[in-house]
């Protein structure tokens, strides 16, 4: 899986609690991305990073924040989880070209 590890793989949390998902890469790629996948929606970009401490919003960023303090780690935080954030979250890394490598995903359920 191209040296990407997402943790946790599964999580159930309560509405209103903060949640942090972690993406760890061993490929030293500059670019990292967080996507969410929902039935019938394909994958939608939440946030992305183009370098350490360099991040920006994607198309569905409301309710999420990210941090990247070192090349290998990209954290996605739900400040106060809501049921609408129940989803499967994928991290991706990529060279600045066409091929992005995806992690195995984190299945998050907010109850």
């Amino acid at each position: 899986d191209a040296g990407i590890t997402q943790s946790p793989r599964h999580k159930v949390t309560e509405t209103g609690t903060p949640v942090t998902l972690r993406c760890h890469q061993t490929e030293n790629h500059r670019y990292m991305y967080w996507y969410r996948q929902d039935p019938g929606h394909g994958l939608r970009l939440i946030h992305y990073s183009y370098g350490v401490k360099d991040t920006d919003k994607g198309e569905v960023s409301d309710g999420y924040s990210v941090s990247r303090s070192k090349t290998e780690d990209f954290l996605l935080t739900l400040e106060s989880a809501t049921s609408s954030q129940t989803s499967v979250y994928f991290c991706a890394i990529g060279p600045f070209a066409t091929e992005a490598f995806f992690g195995q995903g984190t299945r998050l359920t907010v109850v």
Binding site: D1, Y31, Y33, Y35, Q37, D38, P39, G40, H41, G42, L43, R44, L45, Y48, Y50, D56, G58, V88, F90, A92, G94, P95, F96, A97, T98, E99, A100, F101, F102, G103, Q104, G105, R107
Partner: protein
């Protein structure tokens, strides 16, 4: 479990047939068009890409066709095998300026191959 395939277009074929999966895209400024395969419980996996200045590209058992006039992309899989059963996504990518290689995905198509 949760189905990412809810309400997605579906294609059913027999093993050995050729499959054609279609995708309409919206952004004429995209530099690359990419096909991903996603098996159940896994992340998307890169299959093949095509640059916007090309109209055809072939890989191993796969061919991607790009028709910019009608903004249409297709993936052809030759001699489809049961292991090809998955959800297939097309994606667009811009590589210039501040795009930073972000991908915009299509909705996906479920391919089922019957032995």
């Amino acid at each position: 479990g949760e189905s990412v395939g809810l309400h997605l277009p579906t294609l059913s074929v027999q093993e050995g047939d050729n499959s054609i999966i279609n995708c309409a895209y919206s952004n004429s400024a995209s530099d690359y068009f990419i096909w991903y395969k996603q098996e159940s419980g896994k992340g998307p996996q890169f299959i093949i890409d095509i640059r916007s200045n090309m109209d055809k590209r072939q890989g191993q058992r796969v061919t991607v066709l790009l028709n910019k006039t009608v903004k249409h992309l297709s993936l052809q899989i030759a001699a489809t095998q049961p292991g090809d059963s998955a959800v297939y996504f097309c994606a667009e990518k811009r590589t210039g300026g501040t795009s930073y290689g972000k991908l915009t995905f299509g909705q996906g198509t479920i391919l089922t191959v019957h032995p």
